[in-house]
């Protein structure tokens, strides 16, 4: 055998294997092939991609109060915030509104807010702000308008954070884990100033309106509205006081001391919004001769002239995904599981049609229950379904009572005088569009009156503002000549009552009782809450009875939520007082 021949073959073989291995074993074989994924550079290279990131900012920044899904919206589990304050209650014990009513809120679970989610929105808005200049196909003026838009989008979650937690760390850049990022909380004052500054800067650039197909985007009015509300909150007793609800952590819970001029700033900001609205075609809904119809349209019509901003995160909701229906609708109506009961305490804040207070005796015949209900003002008729009332044309009259056999006609009590009907009447089994109202004009008349009464007690402009609301509601005006309203305190109470009624269930009351520091009062978030229950008698008639359905528990530390324990454990934040 020829040795050389063999060797050549041998080396050739070895060489080939090694060669093939080297060729093949390089990074290219394992390189991720191009696919349908996107990079940040691709996002900010075309208008359509950049806009997708703007919509992402909307998706993550806009507050939502409806329980569209299991925990998907950033709110209570399977219930609405109205059921976690003195407006209402849900009978079933598992929705997380009950945690608030029993004081069962902890540093690890509020059952309500998703702290992290707000910062996701804040980050998205910041990414957009920092990168939009790279998109050459968008004109400069449009880019600056978009920047103003996300500036407000970013301020919205800060407002949601601050009204729950007090001061939080203000993050204005896009952070990575390599950064030195253990930042402490800013002070409450810095937080308010930051939002106000964002609103001022954006208001100077934002348009009054968008083309119809783009309604729902941030306008100048949103910037003014946010500023007005934030200043109202900042001027309120929880934050603007010499006697804070708890001693420690003052820089996080509010200002160092009381300053009346903060009320003036709030009043001015509301005035600015009201002035802008008059010029921008934003006005209360008053077309119909029927006040109930007007009030309903202001709430349920998705693009009515009173809306400054509503969240359209869910679009057209339908029965393929029925959680909203099951969580929100009263038991037995369109698949509702339990419904949100309206407490007697809240019902009593409504006026009668003639502007008086309604008194329900502790018990009486069913006919009295119904007639007293029917005497109530139009806003009550729309907002509350009582037994014997009409849900809508399709469902008709609804009755709920305890049967002669000792069971509840709809399997469970209501926990209140009736069910929340507001928002929901237009729905049916097929679905509907339920935009969550973030700002509507009526709020700012109330904000204006409330703040003005603090710097200028019984100011006629404040009465005007309240009466604008009452006129639309179809109830008699208030007057400082009326001995019931002729002191600052009495008028303050009237303003608060008007606010509770007009803005009922819209996620105001929960925060109002906190910023007014009244949550610990009996009948607010403390003590027995009542309902009116109807009992079927042996002869088929009914008796009603005022009965407590639960005893609520309050602890002053609940005025601000605890910062989630997981964040505290990272060692960079100070906890709120009492937690």
């Amino acid at each position: 055998m020829k040795k050389t021949y063999k060797n050549i073959r041998f080396y050739r073989t070895i060489g080939m294997v090694v060669f093939l291995n080297l060729v093949a074993c390089n990074d290219d074989f394992l390189e991720k092939p191009e696919s349908n994924d996107v990079t940040i550079d691709e996002i900010f290279s075309t208008r359509i991609n950049a806009e997708s990131f703007l919509w992402e900012s909307y998706r993550t920044c806009m507050p939502v109060g409806f329980p569209y899904d299991w925990g998907r919206h950033n709110g209570l589990y399977a219930s609405m915030l109205m059921a976690a304050c003195d407006e209402g209650d849900v009978y079933d014990s598992w929705p997380s509104s009950n945690n608030h009513n029993t004081g069962n809120v902890s540093t690890t679970y509020t059952g309500e807010d998703n702290y992290d989610w707000h910062y996701k929105g804040i980050r998205n808005a910041t990414i957009f702000m920092d990168n939009i200049d790279r998109v050459s196909e968008i004109p400069e003026d449009e880019k600056s308008r978009m920047k103003a838009e996300v500036k407000i989008l970013r301020a919205l979650p800060y407002h949601e954070l601050i009204k729950r937690y007090g001061a939080v760390p203000l993050i204005t850049s896009v952070l990575s884990t390599e950064d030195d990022i253990l930042l402490p909380r800013n002070t409450y004052e810095e937080c308010i100033d930051f939002i106000v500054q964002s609103c001022d800067e954006a208001a100077a650039i934002l348009p009054d309106s968008y083309p119809a197909s783009q309604t729902g985007r941030i306008t100048k009015g949103v910037a003014l509205a946010l500023k007005a509300r934030v200043l109202l909150y900042a001027a309120s007793p929880l934050h603007n006081t010499n006697t804070p609800y708890m001693g420690e952590g003052r820089e996080y819970t509010g200002y160092p001391s009381y300053d009346e001029s903060r009320w003036q700033l709030a009043a001015d900001a509301s005035q600015a919004l009201l002035n802008w609205a008059a010029g921008a075609g934003i006005q209360l809904v008053t077309e119909s001769p029927d006040p109930q119809e007007n009030y309903r349209n202001a709430i349920e019509l998705t693009h009515n002239p009173e809306i400054i901003l509503s969240s359209q995160s869910e679009g057209w909701w339908n029965s393929d995904w029925p959680m909203f229906q099951q969580f929100a609708m009263p038991r037995g109506i369109y698949g509702g599981w339990y419904g949100h009961g309206v407490t007697l305490e809240h019902a009593q804040k409504y006026y009668t049609q003639s502007g008086g207070d309604q008194i329900w005796p502790d018990s009486g015949p069913g006919s009295e229950y119904l007639s007293k209900m029917q005497e109530m003002e139009p806003r009550f008729q729309y907002s509350v379904l009582y037994s014997g009332g009409v849900w809508n044309d399709e469902i008709g009259v609804v009755n709920f009572f305890r049967t002669n056999g000792g069971t509840w006609s709809s399997n469970a009590p209501v926990n209140g005088v009736g069910f929340m009907r507001k928002f929901l009447v237009k729905g049916n089994w097929g679905g509907g569009q339920y935009n969550w109202i973030v700002f509507r004009l009526a709020e700012f008349y109330l904000n204006y009156a409330e703040s003005l009464n603090e710097v200028s007690p019984l100011d006629p402009r404040a009465f005007n503002a309240i009466n604008t609301i009452r006129d639309r509601a179809g109830i008699p005006q208030l007057s400082s000549a009326d001995p019931r309203y002729d002191t600052q305190e009495e008028f303050r109470e009237a303003i608060r009552r008007e606010r509770a009624v007009e803005l009922a269930f819209e996620e105001h009351r929960f925060f109002d009782v906190r910023r007014w520091v009244i949550a610990g009062q009996e009948g607010v978030m403390q003590g027995e809450m009542h309902g009116l229950n109807l009992y079927e008698q042996a002869d088929g008639s009914f008796l009603y009875q005022k009965e407590p359905f639960e005893t609520r528990v309050w602890n002053d530390r609940l005025y601000l939520y605890p910062i989630p324990q997981g964040e505290i454990d990272k060692g960079y934040l100070k906890q709120n007082p009492g937690w």
Partner: protein, 951 residues
């Protein structure tokens, strides 16, 4: 230089991307070349049957004696003693080091979960499975095509799998033909399956009576009147007061299972073959289903297996083999989620409603909306049809003319699977019965219709498939130089897996090999290595080098033991090495920042959808694989040539385990923090196996006992800060349960006259408590029972100790074998439908009969009844934990081999008939349920008989 030019001409540059062409070229190149060498080299063909003592190792085989690593092996013969449609269900306790944990018994979906040497990581513990050298699942192969299954356990055994090897590997080898006359084997087995056990629930009377008691405890009025209770008790009103045992209504006594196979094997010097045709059929437990599967169907699984393994000698130096393994799997199910069905059968109380109303309509109501019988019979069915083909072509050339003992091998393998669906579904209506009064004042029935009867709707489709394409090339060398034996292997392997539903295929690639040396067949050493890469890592950081070293010493060959009659064999082994795990958590390409089209927003009155792009978890540009340093010490031997023993000790240190940085990165970063390679886990344990064999006259018997232990400890995992030291998961085993320690019940004297807890008694933060609720230990002594009192309780679900006993004997034609398998050091958490009475309108089990009442305050085994949610009672605690240890008679078989003189006249060489049973007995302490499967489709026991005829 000339040579390299030549190479370039032969290999055009683009060919490196065309892997198939490379391989084809290599084959042709080598074949042609071999033919040219034909005249010069004379090769003697080695008979493959001499490899009987060989056992599979990574990409090859080695003689048992020369193995330096930790491997356990089982033959197909032993596996076939357990009649199970899914092969891994024959492996319980059979392979020391492999923990097999019972899954559901649902036909077609009864795979157990398995671990090799316990858990080495708190992330993904999946291991590799190879069938004849290429990755493929083996569960649905026919047992009669299995030659052996091996488990590779230590670094030396796994070294060649490099970056993917850390969780171990299973090698499945299929049967091949051997030289000789054609052997035909026909095997048939048929049997019946039943649940090992089903939980027991209260009858209607007890349920109603105790529901009333629960309501009374809640201060609520009774639901059932005395007349109703009487009706439940005497069964006088089966429609308005039904007493339904849902298991009885839905299930039949037993379900058939059968398995048939026909194999041919044989061959000559130049061609050998093994051919199999197999059929397995397994039905479900549901009763009264349509046998023709036209309007509904039982759970039903049918499988057809085909295999043709052909070995060819193309020339004296070129061998080829073509393996073709295929199967068809047909699955039918009622159109109702199986897990939910079993949940409903358990969760619906006996008095919910009658199965059918007096007029023949389905019973039902809105609280229990899915009548379990109607769910099976009146909703149509769903079905799937799977086709799987795995084909492998191998070529091997002897290059003795270059260097004696040199061999070049190439292989390509394709594995293709597709699933098609055919669903024929409908809806049904049911009628809720309500008592009404007729004109004459007597009771009458009112029917309230709910749901809608719909016509059948047919749906087909789905794009469920995968395709796998593998290439291997290897050079092997082996030669004996006097007393020095040397062998070496270097190979290249690449793998591309295309799975529907993934944007891009999965890929990995390696060069690997080993060098073996032995001196005098007494001292063995092996160096194994892999330079392997994974697509999961960033460019430049994709490849790692994974070496291992191992050695063995056959002590019994030394002079001082050579003639020992006592210690007839003794071998010690040791190995150490590094392997990796590239299975990541989180995003697949975690080194790139991920943005997804996800969600969106609406604008305008027309709710115009505006799609959004979402930023995903932050990228980790430095992400890398888990590293596993494995050490193994082994000793094996034989006493008196009768008692064989194998002992292995192992220790594993896993580092660079991914952990989310969420625990340390502030939430205000605003996006999920990346996974970082910071985690550490240690894992250690042992395997012991003893076998004693003897023959007394015509009575032969054996006893085998084995035990396997593995215990891991999380050393680091970037855990969140916790309030108390005992709350940390770090330092505990993976999956360590945490919960409260129950210390009895709240008693009446714990409360004052207002119903408030007396001072000094810890308050539950979960919900208000009352007498008869579970009382917990206030571990941190803060007067409050809350999450901060949850400590490590019991053991994880996966047993740290498993053991088995195998006893067998034969006398003349008779043989008997019993196989027991058990597990210890595990706990089960008994929660949910089967155990928590009345929660969410749940049924009540017999476990509540011994509930707490004022008259039974101490010896009660269930808290005071309530119809309300009770966050205090219904949560993880020692109260709901039980020891999950068990011992099962996994298998028993009695066989009889007909005397040869009877059958040989028929041309039959061997006939054996047998009866066998699977899971006939289980000893355990868990209440009400099977210790391995707490809910859902139950674990099955089976009885079968069968026979095997060989021609």
């Amino acid at each position: 230089m000339k040579k390299s030019n030549e190479m370039k001409q032969i290999l055009p540059t683009h060919i490196k991307f065309n892997l198939f062409a490379i391989l084809l070229f290599c084959c042709l190149y080598a074949t042609g070349w071999a033919q040219s060498a034909e005249e010069k080299v004379i090769v003697t063909y080695e008979d493959a049957t001499e490899d009987e003592k060989s056992i599979p190792v990574a990409f090859g085989t080695q003689k048992k004696e020369e193995i330096t690593s930790a491997i356990s092996t089982i033959g197909g013969q032993e596996m076939s003693k357990t009649l199970a449609p899914t092969l891994s269900n024959t492996l319980f306790g059979r392979l020391p080091g492999l923990t097999v944990m019972q899954g559901s018994g649902e036909p077609g979906y009864d795979s157990p979960s398995m671990l090799i040497r316990g858990k080495g990581t708190y992330n993904n513990n999946n291991f590799l499975v190879f069938v004849d050298g290429f990755e493929a699942s083996f569960d649905q192969l026919s047992v009669d095509e299995i030659e052996s299954i091996s488990v590779l356990k230590d670094a030396a055994a796994l070294a060649l799998y490099g970056i993917r090897a850390a969780n171990g590997a299973i090698l499945v080898t299929t049967k091949r033909g051997s030289i000789g006359k054609t052997r035909i084997s026909l095997s048939a087995r048929t049997g019946w399956q039943q649940p090992t056990e089903l939980p027991e629930f209260l009858g209607a009377y007890d349920y109603s009576r105790l529901y009333n008691e629960a309501l009374q405890n809640d201060g609520l009025p009774a639901r059932y009147s005395d007349e109703a209770l009487a009706a439940y008790q005497d069964g006088s009103d089966p429609f308005l007061h039904p007493d339904v045992d849902w298991y009885d209504e839905v299930l039949r006594e037993s379900a058939p299972i059968s398995d048939y196979s026909l194999t041919f094997s044989g061959g000559s010097e130049t061609a050998r073959y093994f051919v199999l045709l197999g059929h397995m059929s397994n039905q479900g437990l549901y009763d009264n289903t349509d046998p023709d599967q036209k309007i509904n169907s039982n759970a039903d699984f049918k499988r057809y297996n085909f295999r043709s393994n052909i070995d060819l000698q193309l020339s004296p130096v070129v061998d080829a083999s073509l393996d073709f393994g295929g199967r068809i799997e047909d699955r039918f199910f009622p159109n109702f989620n199986g897990a939910q069905l079993w949940e409903n059968m358990a969760g619906y109380p006996a008095n919910a409603y009658p199965v059918r109303n007096p007029d023949g309509t389905w019973g039902g109501n809105s609280i229990y909306p899915d009548n379990p019988v109607a769910s099976i019979l009146d909703r149509g069915y769903t079905s799937s049809h799977d086709r799987n083909v795995m084909a492998t072509l191998r070529l091997s050339e002897k290059l003795d003319f270059i260097a004696q003992g040199l061999r070049f091998r190439q292989a390509i393998s394709v594995n293709s699977w597709h699933r098609g669906n055919y669903n024929k579904t409908k809806g049904y209506s049911f009628q809720e019965l309500v008592r009404g009064a007729s004109a004459d004042g007597r009771d009458s029935l009112i029917y309230v219709e709910q749901g809608i009867d719909t016509d059948f709707e047919v749906n087909e489709g789905g794009n469920d498939q995968f395709n796998r394409f593998n290439i291997q090339m290897a050079l092997e060398y082996g030669k004996q130089f006097d007393k020095h034996g040397i062998s070496a292997l270097v190979m290249y392997h690449q793998d591309v897996l295309d799975v529907s539903g993934n944007n891009v295929p999965f890929a990995n690639q390696s060069i690997m090999g080993r060098v073996n040396y032995n001196y005098n067949a007494r001292y063995y050493a092996e160096f194994g290595y892999a330079y392997s890469g994974s697509e999961s890592f960033p460019k430049g950081k994709r490849f790692g080098f994974f070496p291992s070293l191992s050695a063995a010493w056959i002590v019994s060959k030394e002079d001082f033991l050579k003639n020992s009659k006592t210690l007839t064999f003794l071998k010690t082994r040791a190995s150490a090495g590094l392997v990796g795990n590239d299975r990541l958590v989180g995003n697949r390409f975690a080194y790139t920042q991920d943005y997804n089209y996800s969600g969106g927003y609406y604008f305008g009155p027309d709710v115009a959808w505006s799609g959004a792009i979402e930023e995903g978890t932050l990228a980790n540009p430095n992400i890398t694989w888990e590293k596993s340093l494995k050490y193994n010490l082994g000793i094996e031997g034989s006493l008196f040539s009768k008692l064989d023993f194998v002992v292995d000790l192992f220790f594993e240190k896993r580092t660079d385990v991914l952990a989310s940085a969420n625990a340390t990165v502030p939430a205000y970063v605003g996006v999920d923090a990346p996974f970082e390679n910071v985690g550490k886990v240690n894992n250690r344990g042992f395997e012991v196996s003893l076998t004693y064999r003897d023959q007394i006259g015509e009575f032969g018997y054996f006893i085998n006992a084995s035990a396997f232990y593995a215990r891991n400890e999380i050393k680091e995992m970037n855990e969140v800060v916790r309030a108390e030291d005992y709350l940390y998961r770090t330092g505990e085993a993976i999956g360590q349960p945490f919960g409260l320690e129950a210390i009895g019940f709240y008693q009446q004297n714990d409360f004052d006259s207002n119903g408030d807890l007396v001072p000094g008694v810890p308050v539950s933060a979960f919900s208000p408590v009352r007498p008869g609720d579970i009382r917990y230990k206030d571990v941190n002594g803060d007067g409050l029972i809350d999450d901060n009192d949850e400590m490590a309780i019991g053991d994880p679900w996966e047993p740290s100790l498993t053991y088995s006993f195998n006893l067998g004997g034969s006398y003349k034609g008779f043989d008997l074998e019993l196989f027991f398998q058990g597990a210890a050091n595990r706990d089960v958490y008994l929660n949910g439908t089967y155990f928590w009475a009345f929660v969410d309108d749940n049924n009540a089990g017999t476990n509540i009969l011994n509930r707490w009442t004022p008259d039974n305050p101490v010896s009660a085994s269930y808290p005071a009844l309530t119809t309300q949610p009770n966050e205090n009672n219904y949560r993880r605690s020692t109260f709901w934990s039980q020891s999950g240890g068990f011992l099962r008679l996994r298998n028993i078989e009695v066989g009889y081999t007909l005397p040869e003189q009877w059958v040989s006249k028929l041309g039959i060489s061997k006939t054996r008939i047998f009866v066998s049973g699977v899971n006939l007995f289980t000893w355990h302490n868990v209440d009400a349920v099977d210790p391995e499967n707490l809910g859902g489709y139950p674990v099955l026991r089976s009885y079968s008989l069968g026979g095997r005829i060989q021609f």
